[in-house]
Amino acid sequence: MATPENKLAFDAGWQYAPAPESTDHIELQKKYELFIGGDFVAPEEGRYFETVNPATEERLARVGLATDADVDKAVAAARRAFTGWNRLKPAERGKFVYRIARILQERAREFAVIESLDGGKPIRESRDVDIPLAAAHFFYYAGWADKLDYAFPGRKPRPLGVAGQIIPWNFPLLMAAWKIAPALACGNTVVLKPAETTPLTALKLAEVIADAGLPPGVVNIVTGAGETGAAIVNHPRVDKIAFTGSTAVGRIIQKALAGTDKKYTLELGGKAANIIFADAALDQAVEGIVNGIFFNQGHVCCAGSRLFVQEAVADEVVAKLKDRMETLIVGDPLDKNTDIGAINSAEQLETIERYLEIGRQEGAEVHQSACPVPERGYWCRPTLFTGVSQSNRVVQEEIFGPVLAIQTFRTFDEALTKANNTPYGLSGGVWTDKGAKIFRMTRSVRAGVVWANTFNKFDPTSPFGGYKESGVGREGGLHGLDAYLDLGA
């Protein structure tokens, strides 16, 4: 395999000139209010917080901080709107959801730029993945609105009431779509809280919802941090909680909900095994590794953060992976050629760097690509840990960054045992040219989604969710309707 003298060079010669996406066409206000009862209203206590561009550390806007009183107002508005929304003919409800989908498509470019500005993800991903998928979710669930009786034959599906939804910062608009689309299609009303580091596309979505003419109060968007989320979770007139975020916060929520009759779905952390057999198509597997862990800076709950490579090809795969990493461009999220954008926040960068230090102290070998990174902003080069085992913390714990822990295995059973030897169970990947091996492995890995010869593929028709500490319930597809309906006895 690659020896020092047989090494490929990617650092000189023809380079790509900057190709920045224009920001001329977007409109950002200096200050954003809360979206309650169809209007943008100032927070009761008049407090605001800042949202910054993680690539420049510059302030993008000030955003209203919702307290208990604001959440109470939002829940009351959702409660008032519920009766009318629920009684609307299902096909009419569907029309509103379709309208949201279409407006999102029309304004896709604007949303993509704002998503990259606020969250740091490369424009290539917000343009090609986040925004189109968000629109696709609205389209998909709009179609179900008047077909719920067919989704659950012989049952009497009824909406739950007010859904409190708390979403993370890694896919801000997409997660809002995952939550809002099925809730509305099933006849619920919504109080949604976006993450405090990425509130802007949700607030832009509030504009879309207003433009789409949804009755006031059907969707309410309140911004803030953990306390705002707690106010939603603990509010007595909320009927359902949908949360996507860390396992730690998921635990707090589940405790808070114990003994109440609120329904809930929790989509939490992960530490997915990505398993490469020697007979796999190795060059495509290397792409799958890259896509599995470096997509969205590794800020992906279903990231393939634990790599298992069969020993016979381990050196070859790691050498190829290292060369491939040299071609990944880290930098300005708005540049169309950027592969890895900015780490979402100073706090998250600190977490990642803490884990890099833990890994070093545990004796792991660290490899990072050599690409330059900008001076200002929050950045992390794509990183590999080798020489680690299941006993290493960097193998056990979710890092939520572009950091991959690599182990080798000898047999099918060893790979399977280690893949399942984790408190998480959100996703997994298997790479082999043998169909039988695919079926055996995908049946045996205890994870909500297992990809074969690909990774990180999402579709609104496909259910998504975790085993064990990765969460409760499913979102997406037919299963995603269940979470927003009372199916009767």
Binding site: T3, N6, L8, F10, W14, A17, L282, D283, E287, G288
Partner: protein, 307 residues
């Protein structure tokens, strides 16, 4: 040196060549095509593309006059724009090599000749060898041979391998480009295996297509071949060149090929010594784009000579 020759001329176990997943290849190609190449990077790329072109005419109707015109174009791509590179080579049938040699006398432009019963390769080995020697004697510095696809598909790898070894020997000093005719190999697994076979047999370049079979070059097959070249380099330290041919007539597509080359093999291959485009109509489109970069507007095709 003896060991080097030995490793070069041993047929490798093709069953150990890694599998290729078509879906994954398509995704990777789509990523190359989503790169945005603008301004200075574009101009640099366009000039590089011109310098990598094997300007080609391979028709039954070729005449000495037609070949002389082609050579004139090779030397004078567009004199109205100073500072342009010349193409890497002209590519003709063996009978036209002498004409090209005379027309290009004293110029730093290679003469490539197809040989070995081009395009089908359905000729006895002795004829293929004679044809190769004749082309080299007439002045070809590069030989573009075709493999026996029938034999390859029948699993007679040793026969295909031995043929390449023999032709390589007949080439002498001339560089050997081995045309796999990927359109007839059908699967990407076959493309990968044929690439490995050809490189081990001594190919200096591997080339996708004759241009006579559809599909000719695609980014997918080229990617698979580039990855085979990379693995061969990892293994042996020997660089092998790549030539996609047929079907690349637009600058934008050619730029995407360069992106793919850069991100698969790196800088060392980004020269006409290691990468060629086999094309007859690409040059004018590149010239047109260069003019557009310079002036901001497209000129009519009538301002660019057609030879």
């Amino acid at each position: 040196m003896v060991t080097a020759i030995e490793t070069r001329t041993t047929l490798p176990d093709l069953s150990r060549v890694t599998a290729v997943d078509e879906v994954g290849v398509n995704e990777r190609v789509a990523r190359f095509q989503s790169r945005s190449i603008k301004t200075t990077a574009k101009v640099e790329a366009l000039k590089l593309i011109l310098s990598m072109i094997d300007l080609t005419t391979l028709e039954g109707a070729d005449t000495p006059g037609k070949v002389r015109q082609l050579c004139q174009k090779a030397m004078h791509l567009h004199d109205a724009m100073p500072g342009l590179p010349h193409v890497a080579a002209v590519c003709v049938y063996p009978t036209m090599v002498g004409v090209a040699k005379k027309a290009l006398a004293g110029r730093d432009i290679n003469i490539a000749s197809v040989a070995t019963g081009f395009p089908s390769g359905q000729a006895p080995l002795s004829v293929k060898l004679d044809e190769t020697r004749m082309a080299v004697e007439a002045g070809a510095s590069e030989i573009d041979m075709v493999i026996s696809r029938g034999a390859f598909l029948a699993g007679e790898y040793a026969r295909v391998f031995d043929e390449i070894v023999a032709i390589k020997e007949a080439c002498g000093e001339a560089h050997l480009k081995v045309i796999l005719e990927t359109g007839e190999l059908r699967t990407l697994d076959n493309v990968r295996r044929a690439s490995v076979l050809a490189m081990h047999a001594g190919a200096d370049f591997i080339k996708t297509s004759t241009g006579k079979i559809q599909p000719a070059a695609t980014m997918q097959v080229t990617l698979v071949m580039l990855q085979a070249i990379r693995d061969f380099y990892y293994e042996t330290g020997r660089m092998v060149g790549m030539k996609p041919a047929g079907g690349i007539s637009r600058s934008k597509l050619a730029v995407h090929y360069l992106v793919m080359l850069r991100e698969t093999l790196g800088n060392a291959w980004m020269t006409p010594e290691w990468f060629r485009f086999g094309a007859s109509s690409l040059a004018n489109d590149v010239l047109m784009q260069l003019k557009k970069q310079e002036t901001g507007v497209y000129q009519s095709a009538d301002y660019f000579s057609l030879d």
